[in-house]
């Protein structure tokens, strides 16, 4: 029988969670501050959100980030799933070691190094092939590269626990290997695909360092714009933007959490039913 945590543990836990949340709460509170002086409370306003809507630079950057995020995470899910299948289904093959280390490399590598090496690659490629131009394409390519690593690991663990006998049964019934995979295993691993897509999307949306390196003139993602503003200090419209993003992400994560718990419960119930 587990005993509950002691008072000391609860205190540390609360303190830790407070540390994590106080800055964000303060930020959100100040985004409604009517005074442009960030230190003085001048009453409640939503004016900063309105200015945000008229800030073309920010809107363009946000739109660019969204586009990059969607394209990059979709590609990453496809490639990462293929890599995961290769790793789980074929125990030994030529280049397995290479593939595993390539999958893990972006996870242990500091972003700044990934950024600089990828830029050098893109520049070299451009000199040789005349492609890609630095900007949208290069940012997407580099995001796909590091997101794929996360996708592979998420999908790999799910795939390893997925029951293969369904697929074998489908093949016994005459389905082609691809068809069997599509109809049985793919639905089984779809929650992992969804969550890894979301993870990739957030990672891509959030990335500053790699994007800054590989981006070209004229292509500024949202984090790049925020960063250049934040370097100059606190400004109220960035507060508003930040609160907006935190709010959206918060709602999405909570919704995803609730949804996942529900499907998990459903899965457990199904498993129960199946075993009875």
């Amino acid at each position: 029988m587990k005993e509950g945590p002691s008072a000391f543990l609860i205190t540390v836990l609360c303190a830790g969670i407070a540390i994590l949340y106080i800055p964000m709460i303060v930020l959100i509170a100040y985004s409604f501050n009517a005074s442009a002086l960030v230190s003085v409370w001048g009453g409640f306003t939503t004016a900063w959100y309105a200015t945000l809507l008229h800030n073309d630079q920010m809107l363009d950057a946000a739109w660019l980030s969204l586009k990059i995020g969607i394209v990059a995470s979709t590609c990453a899910v496809v490639l990462g799933t293929l890599a995961a299948i290769a790793l789980v289904r074929f125990r030994t093959f030529h280049g397995r070691f290479l593939l595993t280390s390539m999958v893990n490399a972006p996870l242990v590598m500091p972003e700044i190094i990934t950024g600089i090496t990828q830029l050098l690659l893109f520049v070299a490629m451009f000199n040789l092939l005349g492609w890609p131009h630095r900007g949208f394409t290069t940012i997407v390519l580099s995001h796909v590269a590091f997101c794929t690593a996360y996708v592979t690991i998420t999908v790999q663990s799910r795939l390893a626990s997925a029951d293969r006998s369904y697929e074998e049964a489908a093949m016994d019934l005459g389905a082609s290997p691809v068809r069997a995979f599509m109809d049985t295993t793919l639905p089984l691993i779809s929650p992992a695909l969804a969550s890894s897509w979301l993870l990739s999307f957030t990672l891509s949306l959030d990335d500053l360092v790699i994007s800054s390196f590989v981006s070209g003139p004229g292509a500024s993602t949202l984090p790049m714009v925020i960063f250049s503003k934040a370097k100059l200090g606190i400004s109220p419209d960035v507060n508003a933007l930040a609160s907006l993003i935190i709010g959206i992400v918060g709602i999405c994560v909570i919704a995803a959490g609730v949804l996942m718990r529900r499907t998990e419960r459903q899965r457990l119930a199904d498993a129960q039913l199946a075993s009875d």
Partner: protein, 278 residues
Amino acid sequence: MFLLVFFLIPFGFALMISFAQTAIHVPPYTSIVSISPDSRIDLSLHLGNYKYLFTDEVYAIAYLYSLKTAFFSTLICLVLGFPMAYAISRTSKSTQNVLLLLIILPFWTSFLLRVYALEGIIRENGLINSALLWLGLIDQPLKIMRTSLAVYLGIIYSYLPFMVLPLFATLEKLDHSLLEAAADLGSRPWRAFVDVTLPLAMPGIIAGSMLVFIPAVGEFVIPTLLGGPDNLMIGRVLWDEFFGNRDWPVASAVAIVFLVLLVGPIALYQHYQAKELE
């Protein structure tokens, strides 16, 4: 057909990434050097960059400072994160889910925005100083921004979830009957903790520490936004060399040395770990 599709595509992709990483290892790739006007010849100048690294002590200082900062922030994260993870692992299943969600939520929100939010708190006229002044504990605002303290706070604040989650994963699996056995055999709680809990939690401690330490060493955003001019971390030096001085060869040299010094040992370590598991 199956083999073909699922072998070749990932393999080709891996090849592509491997290119990205070897891009600056391989001397022929220093054709990139021609972009930078001050160094036109390949190999000799390339070594010159490394020599420059060792003669100019800015780099050594930055490396050491990065390692030191990352080490101590990892330690503080561990000290703070361990009780948190332990407490979560002791609560009931439904509370656990809520608490975990609370820990994960900041992880999904933008990293940059969280650092920015922290700036709002520790600024000279931010929340901490206002509160302390109001309470009469201090006469004039504390200077936290642009100091090492701010960098530490930033790293701890940003990476704490990375420490808590792997710790929780191992602590959750901990068999409490072992602790009871230790207690039955007359062990005090503290002693039981050191002898039983700590060794069993080791994988989580190592995983968490790596997850905090590695990004912390290469951290660029936090020292730039929160730190002062003295807080030279290697990520920042690299960035300045690259964007400020436009000296790509030297920046690449910094990156390579960094990679060899830091990532090399870690990769080796993980390799051995994986071998041991097999």
